[in-house]
Amino acid sequence: SAVISQKPSRDICQRGTSLTIQCQVDSQVTMMFWYRQQPGQSLTLIATANQGSEATYESGFVIDKFPISRPNLTFSTLTVSNMSPEDSSIYLCSVGMDRGGEKLFFGSGTQLSVL
């Protein structure tokens, strides 16, 4: 397994501002992912954070709104830009382990509330 540290744990932000969420893993991993969990909903993949190249975004998510960095194999950041109340969600970082990456492990998430 992997120990995944995600910061901040929670935050309350004003409309129009931006928040950067950090994800640190205790070992090198090939693939890191960012998921969003809207209130009372399931998890939806935002993007795959690729080391050394641009992130790969899922349909409905764009780089201008959710810029992602992946400077090395143990760290990634997700920024939620120009926030609105609709961005209030839990944001979770996850990493793929095992040879084929069959096991995905998750951080404890960031609870974001936008006023």
Binding site: Q41, S42, E58, S94, G100, G101, E102, F106
Partner: protein
């Protein structure tokens, strides 16, 4: 596109009893993985159990076991001897077997309550 459906928004069970959570999925692939994750109030997503589609034998992890019916595209989770610590949201998830493609598709979740 693959979809995962959990038809039980909420379930409850008496402590020490057995409960089964349902999950169905839709895919045209023959090689894939299925998972059950548990999300307690701490928000942490915890991997409970994993099933490879090419394996006929149902996966088990201590008190947790699955009933994998590939033809029916059904993947239920059985929790035996339920404990108070089992109370959480449970999510069923699908992952393609294509190597390198690690995106998970999640169901809507089932909230499990354990009655003492």
């Amino acid at each position: 596109a693959q979809t995962v459906t959990q038809s039980q928004p909420e379930m409850s069970v008496q402590e020490a009893e057995t409960v089964t959570l349902s999950c169905t999925y839709d895919t045209s692939e023959s090689d894939y993985y299925l998972f059950w994750y548990k999300q307690p109030p701490s928000r942490q997503m915890i991997l409970v159990i994993r099933q490879e589609a090419y394996k006929q034998q149902n996966a088990t992890e201590n008190r947790f076991s699955v009933n994998f019916q590939k033809a029916a595209k059904s993947f239920s989770l059985k929790i035996s001897d339920s404990q108070l610590g089992d109370a959480a949201m449970y999510f069923c998830a699908y992952r393609t077997g294509i190597q390198g493609a690690q995106k998970l598709v999640f169901g809507q979740g089932t909230r499990l309550t354990i009655n003492p």
